[in-house]
């Protein structure tokens, strides 16, 4: 189970970035790292030892496949992750245009 724990450590690194960094770009990077680690974890649960990719070709009609259902779900999740990251970066670009900094402490001071 060391492999699940490594995946969770990747999640914790992303969480550390979100909680402790002051730069907006680094916070966005932390969110994206958390997202990637969760995608990887779900795909690992669907993996079957000795299975092939779930594509039916001639001669492999009844081969042992890995679980196709998590793969289909994560396909959706990856694309939505791109959309949310793009939205976050758009907000960051606007904040930089208005305040001239990515530092969230300075942005907070300039309020009002």
């Amino acid at each position: 189970m060391i492999i699940y724990i490594l995946c969770f450590i990747l999640f914790l690194v992303g969480l550390y970035g979100v909680v402790s960094k002051r730069n907006l770009i680094k916070i966005i990077i932390g969110i994206a790292i958390m997202e990637y680690s969760i995608n990887l974890f779900l795909i690992m649960i669907g993996y079957i030892e000795g299975g092939t990719a779930p594509i039916i070709t001639k001669g492999f009609e009844h081969a042992k496949f890995v679980d196709p259902l998590p793969q289909a779900m994560i396909l959706t999740s990856i694309v939505i992750g791109l959309a949310t990251t793009a939205l976050l970066l758009a907000v960051a670009i606007r904040l930089y245009q208005k305040y001239g900094t990515f530092d969230i402490n300075k942005i907070k001071d300039l309020k009002g």
């Binding site: 402790s20 196709p68 694309v79 791109l82």
Partner: protein
Amino acid sequence: MELYLIIILVLMILGSIYSLNATDLLSAVISYGIVGFGLVIAFLLLQAPDLAIVQVVVEVATLIIMIAAIKNTQSKIPKMEFKPKIAVYYAITLIAALVFILIFDRATGCLSQFGADTMRMAQPYIDGAQHTKSANLVTGVVLDFRAYDTLGEATVLFTAVIGVLTILRIKGKKDN
């Protein structure tokens, strides 16, 4: 197989730690690319070629958007000077991470081992594959069995694109 995955995961963890601690935003973004492209190789090792293709495209797009966001910005981050108080914070963080990992280890104890032969939900999808006439089972699930899910995904994607266009629009409402 599992060894390769462990090596790639360790590389991804090192890349993410460097990315979060870099003093330069450009090197932070580029070492974030290590995480994304390591994930591509991990997907290939886990027999998920569709996901690997999608992840390559998404990662390249994310890197382009990030570099577009940080270009023409003052991208140096002042380095934090070391104080004894910070060491206490690091110790607390490490202890909290250890507690989280222990809880996670207990929580995943009920899951089956990595690579165990368990088809919990997917057997009906595999058996019904000849009805979809699709050679690829993943696209069969995405576009046939769960087409409404995909429709919802397209809705989310277009909503996000409209949001980005609304935020980045130069012309706003005229101030009265």
